[in-house]
Symmetry: C2
Subunit: 163 residues, 2 copies
DNA sequence: TATGTTACGTTATAATATAACATTAATATG
DNA sequence: CATATTAATGTTATATTATAACGTAACATA
């Protein structure tokens, strides 16, 4: 990453995703150990499935996969795991898509802005201080105390612009 | 409005909402006439119901009201009207709440940022050029061509901070 | 009037998410 | 270890949000 503001870059076509996955899982394990939380098999598997690729994943697609793998899964199975993973900062929900993506900076408190290509579906996650501050200041000047920002930017990624 | 960036201000407790409503409806009528579109009774009524107050309104609440009014209505009745009103820029959807609010600058192309009080539910709509530009530039610098922004800011409005 | 288009009625179903309560697994404590 | 306690999961049911599909009516305009 050439820019620290980029938490999850648009993944290059040739990147080895297995290494993303490996580091994401081991970070989550470390975080949970430190926090005295349990990254149970279900939670771990759901985190893997959210990170299946760099695109938003739907809850019911996760559910289907779990059911195909080992039965014993219902909607609450998935939503509970997603709730846990969101609460611990391992995944984010894209509100405008009802879908979930893995966090590129798990375990750190940070702002989030998502860039979402509406052609290929790829997502990048940013943690841009300036955007957060500007919005916070604007809100302040209106007497509004901002506590949570949803920023989701749809458009065309560079490779889809080329096509 | 002391600030042009504010499209829909937080409504003062004492404001006369009937005048909001009246001007919103007549603007929508004018726009539709100019554009050769039909603001049918259903569409008009749904717009009124979205503007019932300055808070987000749920699709199925609109549906209930229509049904209570003896109008034959089913989910498509409401969603079609909402689709039309969104397409023409008379209402916006708050993606993080699956709810709808009236647009404070109907008929004009503009950016939108919403401030949403999670205590009292009141919503303000902004059209802040700086926010839009900053985000557009950040995206540009990453080779991303932004076409649509979802910006929803949750927090405490000034009157709820006082309590 | 005939014709094409837009809007609406109607039924059904898809997609997303949570409530409520029972059961099991993990952890803590004596 | 035994047992109390809590955390996590299983299970069933339901709530909420949204769209598909197809027929009918209203409207335009030629
Ligand atoms: Zn990867
Ligand atoms: Zn793309
Ligand atoms: Zn008002
Ligand atoms: Zn408030």
């Amino acid at each position: 990453m050439q820019d620290k503001q980029i938490v999850t870059p648009f993944s290059p076509a040739d990147h080895q995703h297995s290494s993303c996955l490996k580091s994401v899982l081991s970070t989550a394990e470390d975080c949970c150990r430190q926090r005295g939380l349990r990254l149970t098999p279900i939670r771990r598997r759901v985190l893997e499935l959210v990170w299946k690729n760099h695109e938003p994943v739907k809850a019911y697609d996760i559910l289907e996969t779990l059911q195909a793998e080992k039965k014993r899964a219902a909607p609450p199975t998935v939503y509970r795991a997603l709730d846990f993973l969101q609460a611990e900062g391992f995944v984010h929900k894209l509100e405008s898509m009802n879908a979930y993506v893995g966090c590129g900076a798990p375990g750190h408190h940070h702002t989030t802005q998502f860039l979402i290509c509406h052609t290929c579906g790829v997502v990048a996650e940013l943690d841009d201080i300036e955007i957060g501050e500007l919005i916070g200041n604007k809100a302040d000047s209106l007497g509004f105390k901002a506590t949570h920002l949803t920023i989701e930017i749809k458009g065309l990624c560079s490779s889809c612009q080329a096509d």
